[in-house]
Subunit: 341 residues, 2 copies
């Protein structure tokens, strides 16, 4: 029997279409394993080509040579830090001049350094850079919200192959985020608890949607997932802002994120994917009602007219079946190979 499920955080409905249901393995891409070279002469993100990018924002180790992670302004930035966020409203048409920051984080010097193939410690370095840029830009009073994300593969919007992440700081709060904050505040006002903390506790007790768990994080399939294998990673400690993550937690998150990405890489055969950090707006550090998380979204399906017209998605894979499938995928070989580097 088909079923509609509601995402409690957004109130969005999704149709879990059991009549069209697919076994999770049917969505595998049948692609060969990744065989990128470690260095590409013409790649602007490979070492030695630093002059091909705009002047660098930062690198780790600070000012060090060779670098391990590098941050640069996006050459084709969607927003500009040279303008001021001046607002105007005329006949129901609201505009803001395009102030903002758009940065690229080059994950590693290795052209083949997709997260599953990097050592845990290296991923932790990347996450520390995320945190550093997040906190630095949060201090700018003109910044209302920061999105950190990664595009992996052409269908996920990656125009350059060299593994990199991005950060966009906007002078407004996206309406999707505003709705999520509003629902979270309403729940807190009504019930006196963070709805994310409540949900995480129940999901861990339930087990059916859990993919993997560590001391500080849990990765789970989303109950009302709009697309197959959408997976959330939640910190177990209540934290509204990603900027508050500790060094110890970063080490732990690096392992969980890498394990999850390796499971998707092996089990679904290297699908294109996005991941994103969904944090409260910059000034939400102390908020009791909100909770940041990461969202990993393999790009396995197409959006069609129903989704565009209604905003409601049809998902053909049961989240519980997706979780069971991912739990069983063995990634020792992939994780071990990187550890030996």
């Amino acid at each position: 029997m088909p079923e509609l499920r509601q995402n409690f955080f957004t109130k969005e409905w999704v149709i879990i279409a059991t009549e069209r249901a697919k076994r999770p393995e049917e969505l595998a891409t049948h692609r060969a394993a990744q065989t990128q070279p470690s260095f590409v002469e013409s790649c602007p993100f490979c070492p030695g080509n630093e002059s091909k990018t705009p002047p660098e924002v930062m690198r780790t180790p600070y000012g060090g040579e060779p670098w391990t992670v590098r941050v640069i302004p996006n050459k084709f930035a969607a927003l500009s830090s040279d303008v001021q966020p001046v607002r105007s409203l005329q006949h129901l048409r609201r505009r803001v001049d395009g102030f903002g920051f758009h940065e690229v984080i080059v994950d590693s010097p290795d052209h083949a350094g997709f997260f599953p193939f990097l050592p845990d410690e290296h991923i932790a370095s990347v996450l520390r850079v995320y945190r550093e840029r997040y906190n630095a830009l949060s201090r700018d009073r003109r910044v209302a919200h920061i999105t950190i994300f990664k595009n992996h593969g052409l269908d996920a919007g990656a125009s350059l192959q060299h593994p990199h992440s991005q950060l966009i700081a906007t002078p407004v709060i996206p309406s999707q985020v505003r709705h999520r904050l509003y629902e979270a505040l309403r729940h807190y006002d009504d019930v006196g608890e963070c709805m994310f903390c409540h949900m995480v506790e129940r999901e861990i007790g339930d087990e059916t949607r859990i993919v993997c768990k560590s001391e500080n994080f849990v990765a789970m399939e989303v109950f009302a997932s709009p697309t197959p294998f959408a997976t959330h990673i939640f910190p177990l400690r209540h934290m509204a802002s990603f900027g508050d993550i500790s060094d110890l937690e970063i080490n732990d998150l690096a392992r969980v994120l890498r394990t999850l990405l390796a499971k998707i890489y092996v089990g679904l055969e290297n699908p294109d994917l996005n991941f994103t950090v969904r944090s409260g707006p910059a000034e939400y550090a102390g908020a009791r009602h909100f909770h940041w998380y990461m969202s990993v979204i393999p790009r396995l399906t197409r959006v069609a007219g129903f989704e565009l017209g209604s905003g409601m998605f049809i998902n053909t894979v049961l989240p519980e079946a997706a979780a069971e499938f991912l739990r069983k995928v063995s990634v020792e070989k992939v994780l071990g190979a990187a550890a030996g580097k």
Copy 2:
């Protein structure tokens, strides 16, 4: 200078990225003109193969042979009319048993009968069938919302080539629609006017985003369009429900919709696209604050991590440039060819 714009109906922000801006013609697909045969032996929607589909819901002319438009249940329905919409809530997990209707409207017996190539009168027949099914299903008290849509091309989610439309009736109001209704009601309460009527009047006065106009309808690029060439067709008469469209208005809409689709077909070289009817929920027929419209969305770009993470889109084509481009596309040849059939 880049610019952020807010959609007044949804409060969604979009980045108009002028630094990455493309001239409208750069988005053309470079595909050849469509060369589908008019009949395909193996196609379940072609005449003579009626037995390959589930038993028919209706056809026009009623019970006639040959048929001009045919409605059938979707063989792989996302929802089922055999179950009841029983709701449950347990630990923040809300579910509804998958009640609903999922119908396919076969636009014409012609396998090559994409809207730009059908006579206006035939498109009017299809729109009358939309209205008939919309009103029939609206009377079911279990139906909360109906989405009518078309997927044209593989990237737009069409799995069968024979031109067809679809209708999905759900027992819940999608949250995107709920937000739009809420904002519309708020505007009506505050200002005492339908915000859509106000916007349409201003846009017609402004002219810069108008593509074409008839006695009863106007097609315009969207001020805060999330993707290039997203175009809305608004009825000039205030009407909350698509079910209230008159026969005269349908004849007029057929011409406007066909002209717009022909302009996109010629100017952007047959891109995949979706269109959808965005109507108030079934019981909104008399609502003063809401206004139905059609949305036509060519599929020219990819959604990446920023969009998934924030819900905010980056659009690289200025809506005003898109409107100017479409206004100039001549479609006499395409429209004339069908009239001669």
